[in-house]
Symmetry: C2
Subunit: 329 residues, 2 copies
Amino acid sequence: MKKFINSVDTLLNESLSGFAMAHADIVRFNEEPHFISRQAPTQSGKVALISGGGSGHEPLHSGFVGHGMLDAACPGQIFTSPTPNQMMAAAQAVENGGGVLFIVKNYAGDVMNFEMAAEMIDCSNATVFVNDDVSLPKNHSTGRRGVAGTLIVEKVVGAAAENGKDLAACKAIGERVNEATASMGVAMTSCTVPALGKPTFILNDDEIEMGVGIHGERGRETIPIKSATEIVEQLSTAIEEELKPKKNQPALLHINGFGATPLIELHLIYNLAAQFWQKRGVDIRRSLVGNYTTSLDMAGCSITLSLLDEDLLKLWDAPVHTAALRWGM
Amino acid sequence: MKKFINSVDTLLNESLSGFAMAHADIVRFNEEPHFISRQAPTQSGKVALISGGGSGHEPLHSGFVGHGMLDAACPGQIFTSPTPNQMMAAAQAVENGGGVLFIVKNYAGDVMNFEMAAEMIDCSNATVFVNDDVSLPKNHSTGRRGVAGTLIVEKVVGAAAENGKDLAACKAIGERVNEATASMGVAMTSCTVPALGKPTFILNDDEIEMGVGIHGERGRETIPIKSATEIVEQLSTAIEEELKPKKNQPALLHINGFGATPLIELHLIYNLAAQFWQKRGVDIRRSLVGNYTTSLDMAGCSITLSLLDEDLLKLWDAPVHTAALRWGM
């Protein structure tokens, strides 16, 4: 394993410190327990949005803390859920009279730990669970995983909270976005978790993993590599079967890199995916291409389609000022 | 080789089309000959900034086309210089009465082709050459290479041009930034050029390449992997010997990923590099961390220090609206 680290034990702390130093105008880092929160105060009564999960998916979630998006993010160790004391400390730091909305990717560990925190904090709170990964059936043991669609939930709900929507309304908007969003990914290579020191799984030189999870979970099937057009058709068809978009329905198309796939390939994937949806009459109104929900050094990408209506598109377009997403200010 | 492509021959065209579709609000793509230019018209008399070079370094340069930065970018095939007809067509498209300033990374092919274009276009023009890579001696055969510092030149000169500075002033500012900027990189792995189908060079599992170029050129030395702290010290010391920064001198610190190195590691590198400079009394006033000048799927990163004075910092801070850099608007 070759990585830029001093030791596996100090990696997360050194990295989060560096993140907070590089973006000191936007965020601050609380070291014990770990959480990232906004530098600037929020309006009194605003719903506080808190997300989190295992590290290794950067910029998710810490890179989305700032005006118009999250109030705090709780990073666990790599691919490991944060603990309830992190969410409780973050809630205490950022709650501002409007209650707390947790945005949680649907993984057993994250769900359990966020639920424990939700029970223990003494302010009003609610939770949105994100489960946009259509590679698994809906009745899969613990349900579908939350993947790259989480960013869209966080951005749209973040704008709603900034606009003064209350806790119930923010939760409802988050659930609406989650319902309207579907993703599926493909891996070219495994990632290597530093503490493990070797690839999580092995793919042969001519194989790819369709439906891979963002921690390197095996997906639907291991198949011989295909052309980019065939890969995009297979991923998009799975999304189409789930969302069943209508003609002229407005949508956001998000191509997410897992960390080691060059932008030149992600833009090619975007081209093919946009054509797929245009042929079906879907109105691609917004686009996002890049490495946002990563899996350390995994090569691969995911396609996310989110059927945002005009109201939700307005929230997507609203100003945002975070380390990883910034526009309108 | 596993990549998301349909064929090596169509990769660049399909990718540039996708890039322009995803960012249709900012750029347009001219297919024959290839160049990317701004969607929005510029103010009459503004100096037009044109850069370019081999593809495979995305988001450089196409991702920096837009308000406050470049007017056009000419992408060659992967790691191959663009041809003079691209620069000439781009110049004709974007020249707006203020002349054309070419910003060129110092590689023999790029220099030759941009010089040919400069001789043949019939508007006033000038060129800034960028050669910030300190891994090679100054008297190296064709001089030092232009690497991640190019972004800083393009951003600062872009703001000056937007503010109405004339061609000579823009050129002078570009040269001032280039003089004040030094970079050095390290590779963990080679990249794989699609047309070649195999890694450009081989590093053993315990080796890294100090001073690597952004096309996978071998650097100063191949050494056994060290701790992140030791790697940062070695890179930063080379930069220090070149720039000899004074106490309290303001600076921009840029950590650039080569494409396959996770953000969690780049933030750790930022932390260590910032400490290195702080110990020497350098005043790190601005930061940029991420994958901006990439080498396809190479794992590795570079450190860039740019001694921007107050005037240049103001230009760095000026509004920019491109696919890859966006703030203030």
